[in-house]
Amino acid sequence: MKTTDSPPAPAATAIPLSARVAALLTQAGGKHALVLGGFSLAATLLLVVAFGLTKAPIAQSALEDLRRSLEQVIPADIHDNNPATDTVKLQINGNTLLVYRASKANQVTAVAFEVARKGYSGDIKVLLGIDQNGKLLGVRVLKHTETPGLGDKIEVTRSDWITRFNGLSLGNPPEAQWAVKKDGGPFDQFAGATITPRAVVNSIRDGLQLFAAHRQTLLEEVSK
């Protein structure tokens, strides 16, 4: 407004800058760009605020979920620490394995870690709890995308099949026999589903073998 009030300006350039910008924008379809840009900016700001507000509670809930899963594979009476926060990262064959350690009076009593294998559709993630002698304390399926009604009997809420592994180890049954019945082992498959239980049994065997091969490192590393 001030520029139009000042008399010395020549008539040709008297158009205010804002009006010229607006005209330019209209010609180039810039109004739409402004609308969309404004919406994007507002959306980004909203998301930043929402992310900031929810970050801490979400991390808290995830930790709580983990603690509850670990509770199911490591009995409460053999440890006095919180295994969910007491973790050790192990480098095994170039992969990082996150090991949760349970200890009582600074003595390691058990470890828990995840193993995964391909099931019928996608990875099946299994959490193993193993005591210092290599005996299974508990096994739970954390995540899977198997067929509902067929493969989902590996969930503890649908069948007690998964609890059958409690107390077993690599020598019981012998290592070569860690397989489902169809493959010559002692473990039941379900009617209509062989691939899913096979993946679970094999991944538990993988985990036990991994523990056996790295027992020294695992317990030492963990004992520090």
Binding site: K31, P57, G149
Partner: protein, 229 residues
């Protein structure tokens, strides 16, 4: 008054998203292997739909015609992400049950469809009402399909409802008959079969009752029959 009644009836039954508009069939087929899952997906969609319709109606003066689709998508995606984050933070148990479905709502064409065909032309309150009616109709359709498939396939209905709605709803969980049922019903094929039967039933009901709308009465000619078939 009759306008609100029309909006409500359209959303709930006459122009039902799944059975009449045949939109959002992907979630309708994918999540309805059990009644509780259908109900959960329906409720999550309902919440997002009411909010997005109201927001689009509120901002409709700002949105120019040429960029309305990207603007709608932006609004919907932002809304869904915020709902997802907020539920994960403060309704964590519910999020564990519904978490899988929430990101899917972004690509649910029902939401964009209502923004485009209703909310950007109507007031905030009418749009919210339309969202409510359409969302309830969607929830009804998904729950019905889920219940039929669950009864046929698992022999139960609303199993796991107390996880979704709280312990008070444990009474909903029922076993209809002992045993396993026909597995095909909870597999994808069962979804198509039930959806097909439901659409056929809706069509049969619509055909039996002569259309009450003024236009369709005069259009009852061989051409419209040919077009419909």
């Amino acid at each position: 008054m009759s306008q609100t009644r029309d909006i409500a009836l359209d959303g709930l039954w006459r122009n039902n998203v799944v059975f009449s508009q045949m939109l959002s069939l992907c979630p309708a087929l994918a999540v309805t292997s059990a009644a509780t899952q259908g109900l959960g997906m329906g409720m999550a969609t309902l919440a997002v739909l009411v909010a997005s319709n109201a927001l689009v109606a509120l901002l409709r003066g700002l949105i120019t015609d040429e960029v309305r689709i990207p603007a709608f998508v932006l609004i919907i995606a932002t809304l869904v992400t915020i709902v997802d984050l907020a539920m994960n933070a403060w309704l964590h148990e519910l999020h564990k049950v519904l978490g899988l479905f929430i990101p899917l709502i972004v690509v649910n064409c029902l939401i964009l469809g209502r923004a485009e065909s209703f909310a950007c032309k109507n007031s905030v309150s009418l749009s919210a009402l339309d969202g409510l009616a359409m969302g309830l109709g969607f929830t009804f359709a998904l729950t019905l399909m889920g219940a039929l498939r669950e009864i046929g396939g698992s022999g139960t209905v609303f199993s796991g409802a107390s996880n979704l709605l709280g312990p008070a709803f444990a009474a909903l969980e029922m076993r209809v008959y002992p045993g396993e049922g026909a597995l095909v019903m909870i597999l994808p094929a069962g979804g198509f079969i039930v959806l097909g039967l439901m659409i056929a039933a809706k069509r049969a009901m619509d055909a039996r009752k002569p259309a009450t709308r003024p236009k369709s009465a005069s259009l009852d000619t061989p051409t419209s029959v040919a077009a419909a078939s």
